[in-house]
């Protein structure tokens, strides 16, 4: 498939645990991400979603399988791939102003072009005029928008997001979802998002993959045939939206029931 941006083939990840034994987190996950496609991965707690994303982006080596980005197998975070993490307060560097944080994403450009790109990215996320502020001076939602601007500043081919809206309140979350949607609509990048919020996955995605409990495999793939552009009120009001959410939720619940035993061992 020549038009796929990212292909994950039979990815397997094991992590060494405290007592030295190997813990299989991801057993067998495959997925193809096409140009300008928005795919979300949802799964029950402890299904290793973050681990999967870290392996898929090259931040940690997989134990088996491979990841192809742009026709090339990756063993490190490749150019053209940007990541937004859940914890904006840990991913923005507190000693850099917002402008300098965003500029980190555009290190390869000349000074002048970098300044222009930073300015443009900040406008895109509605933060123009905040370039000289420090992260702590901004609210959580604004900080996460700054993290988004930093990811967008280099025009990535693929944007990965790890629970990007999990650390903000519900209203801010809706707003951030629309910021992401607008960025995606007006650009050409493909997006891969990991989340535990089923409504958010359905609202933003073209496809939703449901992971099984640990060691995880892809349990189901649900196509989201909602019209675009979507809106928080109109889209969520449609019956089709409710049906899709229910369908995904059903699969997640199935996976969750199977994982009860594992949850117990974690909490112990």
């Amino acid at each position: 498939m020549s038009d796929s941006v990212l292909s994950i083939r039979n990815l397997q990840v094991s992590i060494q645990s405290r007592d030295g034994s190997m813990n299989e987190i991801t057993r067998d996950v495959s997925l193809e991400l096409k140009e300008h496609e928005f795919v979300s991965i949802v799964g029950p707690s402890g299904s290793g979603k973050t681990t999967l994303l870290r392996a898929a982006s090259g931040l940690r080596p997989p134990s088996g399988g491979e990841v192809i980005f742009d026709q090339k197998p990756i063993n490190d975070v490749p150019k053209g791939l940007a990541i937004v993490f859940q914890e904006y307060n840990k991913s923005l560097f507190p000693w850099l102003t917002i402008g300098k944080n965003v500029a980190m994403g555009a290190a390869e450009y000349s000074n002048q072009e970098r300044a222009e790109r930073v300015e443009k990215a900040l406008i895109q996320v509605g933060l123009s005029g905040f370039a000289t502020r420090y992260p702590w001076e901004l609210s959580g939602g604004m900080q996460q928008r700054a993290a988004l601007a930093r990811a967008m500043v280099s025009n990535p081919r693929l944007l990965m997001m790890d629970e990007p809206f999990a650390s903000v309140d519900a209203l801010t979350r809706n707003h951030l979802e629309d910021v992401v949607q607008r960025l995606w609509d007006s650009s050409t990048f493909a997006a891969l998002m990991v989340t535990h919020d089923v409504g958010e996955a359905v609202y933003l995605s073209d496809r939703v993959l449901v992971l099984s409990a640990r060691p995880s495999t892809v349990l189901a793939e649900i196509k989201i045939d909602l019209a675009r552009p979507r809106s928080q009120i109109e889209t969520r009001r449609t019956g089709r939206f409710g049906e899709l959410v229910a369908e995904v939720l059903e699969r997640v619940e199935e996976a969750g029931r199977a994982s009860v035993g594992i949850e117990d061992t974690i909490q112990k």
Binding site: V77, F85, E87, S91, F93, G105
Partner: protein, 267 residues
Amino acid sequence: MIGVKAGPRRGSTIARAGLGWLGLAILATVWQLLGMELHTAVFPTFITSLVAAWHVVTSSTLTTDIIPSLERTAAGFLISAIIGITAGMVIGHYETVRDWTSAVVDFMRSLPTPLLVPIAIVVFGINGRMVVVTIISAAVWPILINTANGTSTIEPTMIDTAKTYGLRGRKLFLKVVLPAASPQIFAGLRVALSVSLAVMVVAEMLGGGSGIGYFIANAQQSFNIGGSYGGVIVLGCLGWIFDTLFLMFERRLLAWQRGTVGGLLDV
């Protein structure tokens, strides 16, 4: 660290500072009265000691002892900072290195450093170089350990982010690890600064050949009691000046930390 609260009211700050100086004045008065009451040569009054300190600073002692001491302290402290920060970042960042070195570092940092002075005298002789080496052997540990702690407790997300933006190797250390660990590094540097001064004094007493420590010990042995007290007061003032300058420098450099700088809060 002595607590600095964000944006205290101006009036209460002044009141606090006033009370602080009042406390110091009371201490000086007690010293003065005690000295007058005891009336013994070995415990001069506060004013006598101040005068003696003034004589120390205005005499040739300034160039023969005080300035060499400052140079040795500065050299020892700076070399310790370079070694301690570099080694600390490596030890903190790589878990394997940390495991291999931790027992040895633990032993070295608990060794009471003045015990090394006699052997340092055998190796280097009675001179400033011996003093500098002794300072390093003591001051490097608080810096190294604080840097290693600061480095090993950096949020993994921060390192992930840096890697995502292509920061590797030396760039990763300079642009991310160093600033992220800097609050702890500064705490270590501040401890190391007072350790440097203390070790400088004892090394000079035992075999500096010159320097403020040598001067104080020499004054005592030749029953120049005023000189001893004056030297200690001068040293205390130097320590206070160093500490104050250091805090000002730290506040500037760590201004990005929430609430440490008034200007940011006013925006």
